[in-house]
Amino acid sequence: MSGHSTQKYFKVYFILLVLFLISYIVPETMPDNKTMVLLSAFGIAIVKALMVCAYFMHLNTEKKFVWYLLITCLTMMYLLYIALVPDIMRKEGQNWKSNIEVVMPDNHHGDAHGKTEHHEEKH
């Protein structure tokens, strides 16, 4: 009974490793295919996180209350994202103009690794 039960964890671990290898290999083999890279990286990250929650944290058998608690916090994250999008993605508004520029480095291993110049102008 005990051995049978731990087999389940090893199976989940094996699947997690396979998913991890895919998310590691795809960006290395096809770095120019951005859609594929993002899908494999973040899609697999979400699947892996759900598997850890469900099988390792046993949320699949846990009381619904825990799901409500965690989903509420994730919703707060989403609301924060929505609330901040206009301010961060827009470069100017009615009474303000944001000009955050990141100066790119000349080379990857030199002294300069992208200094930030931050100006905010108010009209």
């Binding site: 960006p27 770095p31 993002l38 990141v102 992208g114």
Partner: protein, 190 residues
């Protein structure tokens, strides 16, 4: 004061310790969530940050992902052993998990050293600011998890508070999940 006043909450049907860990995780979601949401937004605003992401050491990040996934397996096996009153096995598995945490921190320190030697630090630019803050806070959580696990391991060995093996395991899985998202965000997405 040998036993807690409340051992379970009738309203939720969840034990007090477990409920406390889930509330802790809920607050951690808000902490890491806020940080990651700000990073995502600024990353969308500044696509050139991909250039900096390409300077991170992907294979070391991948190694750390493997280490944390393996340590998650060990801690869930420790929980299983504790449920079956196999206290010595639970003790050993918890220490294997702590070993995973040590390897994670050693790899991370190599990464930091490499960045510092190239003149990159937390003040270099916002990308590296996010990189060091996110991985640094995560590293602190790894250390906290290791300390809690060490304390719980000795209690488990003595056959006391075996339920705490599950509690510390759930916290460790959360630390693993945070890294599952940090890895593609900081290392893969270029």
């Amino acid at each position: 004061m040998d036993s807690p006043i409340a051992t379970s909450r009738t309203r939720t049907g969840i034990s007090t310790g477990l409920l406390a860990v889930y509330w802790l995780i809920a607050s951690e979601i808000v902490i890491f969530g806020g940080l990651l949401v700000c990073y995502l937004l600024l990353r969308q605003r500044n696509p050139e940050w991909g250039e900096f992401a390409s300077m991170t050491t992907v294979h070391l990040g991948a190694l750390n992902t493997f280490v944390l996934l393996t340590s998650s397996l060990c801690v869930v096996l420790a929980h299983h052993a504790a449920e079956n009153k196999q206290t010595d096995k639970a003790f050993k598995l918890l220490w294997v998990t702590i070993g995973g945490g040590v390897i994670f921190l050693i790899v991370k320190s190599f990464e930091y050293k490499s960045k510092f030697s190239h003149g990159i630090d937390i003040t270099t630019n916002p990308f590296w600011g996010f990189y060091f803050i996110a991985t640094g806070i995560h590293g602190l959580h790894v250390i906290a998890g290791m300390v809690c696990m060490a304390v719980v391991s000795f209690q488990a060995k003595a056959g006391q508070h075996l339920n705490r093996v599950e509690l510390v395991g759930i916290y460790w899985h959360f630390v693993d999940i945070v890294w599952i998202f940090l890895f593609p965000l900081l290392y893969i997405a270029k």
